[in-house]
Symmetry: C2
DNA sequence: AAGCCCATGTAACTGGTTACATGATTCT
DNA sequence: AGAATCATGTAACCAGTTACATGGGCTT
């Protein structure tokens, strides 16, 4: 059950309401690591509170509850992170699609690969700008939280996707030329 | 519903039985793109046959049925691949874990990052060997199918994970030194 | 003939998505 | 006052996992 650990990780970065956790899941996180919607988050927060992993530190306006991790929660997060694991089942629709490129004809492949390259380049340049801005605002000695680290991953990943797609196209063209 | 398209993609590469599709899902595919178990695959193959996307081309020993994509299936696969899409929700427990590194202390972080680096390096070198062997056996003019392309992705991805983890560690150490 | 892997199937359960629902606060 | 957004909740449905079940064919 990774939702639980995803929430523990987010709250370990900083305390948050269910509503804001849902927003964080909609950002970088959903595209590359994990996703959850509020309808899954609220019930899970209740269960985790019952299990002593998190607790309410503030009840604010509009019935909002801010949660934070307890010591038990931190211990559980650490335990989970130390579980040795080789490859775990992942899900990535982009990769799935790109793998099917080999079954299209070369013209289609070229169109799709270039489209992907364009999209990814736009995304990464936007991310690089955001990252640079965040770096200027950063205070010395303050640990970088979740999201700049996630953004760095995203930038690297999007470049990998583009390069891999182009490499595949070249491979397919090479084999077409040989026959 | 991506399972359907995952199966279409696999069968577009080459016809296969439900049993062998399940095995292919257990390989590279499950770690980086998609996963499905036989209990999900068999019913889906029936539905897809009913919908005319695939058909049985051979009934072999032990009640085995070999499926292939129909023209309608190929058209559907192509249609799906051309749907423009920015970032789609992905799931990757590795990335999720690594994001929580910032909430551990530096000693724990060092241990985990080095463990990841070791595991990934072992995996990539094994993959590189397999890839090199496949390349020797490859016949000129024959399009590379799914799995060499998937392996290339895996190698690149595992390296990215390692590099990103090391970069994060360095960032965290830098900020610790400043305070 | 015993044991193993091939090959398919279903049922029960859990995780996750979509849709529906409602009240509280802020903004204009 | 009305609209937009904050904030939480639940119910119905669909996707995915785990467990159970069975028979065929190959090897020793």
């Amino acid at each position: 059950m990774s939702l639980r650990h995803a929430i523990l990780g987010l709250l370990a970065d900083h305390p948050d309401t269910g509503y804001d956790l849902a927003k964080r899941f909609d950002g970088m996180l959903s595209g590359f690591a994990w996703h959850a919607s509020h309808s899954q988050i609220y019930p899970e927060l209740k269960k985790m509170t019952a299990d002593g992993l998190i607790e309410v530190i503030n009840e604010g306006a509009r019935r909002s509850r801010t949660y934070t991790v307890t010591d038990a929660g931190r211990a559980e997060l650490r335990r989970w992170m130390f579980i040795p694991q080789a490859i775990t089942p992942a899900r990535n629709e982009h990769v799935l699609r790109l793998l099917s490129l080999a079954s299209l004809d070369l013209d289609d492949t070229r169109v799709l690969v270039e489209r992907l390259a364009t999209t990814n380049d736009e995304l990464t340049s936007a991310l690089r700008t955001t990252l640079a801005e965040a770096r200027e605002r950063a205070q010395p000695g303050v640990r970088p939280g979740y999201s700049p680290l996630a953004m760095e991953f995203a930038v690297r990943y999007l470049d990998l996707e583009r390069d891999w797609a182009r490499w595949m196209l070249a491979e397919l063209e090479k084999h077409a030329a040989e026959s």
